[in-house]
Amino acid sequence: MSDVIHLEFDVAGNNFVSAGTATNQVKDTLRNLGIPNQDVRRIAIAMYEAEINMVIHACGGKATADIYADKIEVVLEDHGKGIENIELAMQPGWSTASEDIRGLGFGAGMGLPNIKKYTDEFKIESEVGKGTKVYLRVNFS
């Protein structure tokens, strides 16, 4: 595997049923490439949390995945309302999700902590009223 595999996805906002399809395609692609299970799972969990965030908080956006021989890089970018205080958002249990979202099983305030836990690099840039960009990297073992 010498070439970079580039994947692009439009993530539909407020479509809770389809949320996770982009991550699923990335996961299947990595699995087919023979990437070790634990690495596939790490990026799948991190990207899925980020994809869910984009659906429930930001009306959707774009996701790209670049798969190299030794790592995967995923970027998720939205033009949603942005995050006021990233430091606060990173705290386990802190959440701005509505009761409706909690009723769907998300918004426990574990999304960003989970992403940090499972990735080798996690960067987040956000501007209130403009949107949020998330970068994830997982190295293959």
Binding site: G20, T23, N24, R41, F106
Partner: protein, 115 residues
């Protein structure tokens, strides 16, 4: 413990699972209605026990490579959930028990959180 043992212990209805899947070994379990709590848990060959009933339950199980989902309190999955589960070959069960009772019986039967 095998998936067929879970069916027996929890008096569960099999909503999706073939013979081969019923023979699949389950090493650990995670019980929660919050999917991010489930996503913080990584174990191989695990079963997800939940009172939540929507497509993201199945997606979460897929991301975690889980082998079985047990819906408690007799909840019934919709067609989207069943289609996802069958595509990804995750056993889908529904038990009339409540969460605490279901967890207690499985624990007593030897299924431990750490596998």
């Amino acid at each position: 413990m095998k998936i067929k043992d879970i069916v027996r212990i929890l008096n569960a209805e099999i909503l999706f699972a073939d013979e081969k899947m019923l023979e699949t070994e389950v090493n650990s379990a995670c019980a929660s209605d919050m999917m991010s709590d489930v996503l913080a848990f990584v174990k191989d060959q695990a079963v997800l026990i939940t009172g939540l009933c929507n497509p993201q339950v199945v997606r979460t199980a897929v991301m975690m490579d889980m082998v079985c989902i047990v819906l408690v309190r007799g909840k019934q999955p919709d067609e989207i959930m069943l289609k996802l589960a069958s595509e990804k070959r995750i056993a889908m069960l529904s038990s009339p028990l409540r969460m605490f009772g279901a967890c207690g019986l499985l624990y007593e039967a030897g299924l431990k959180p750490e596998g």
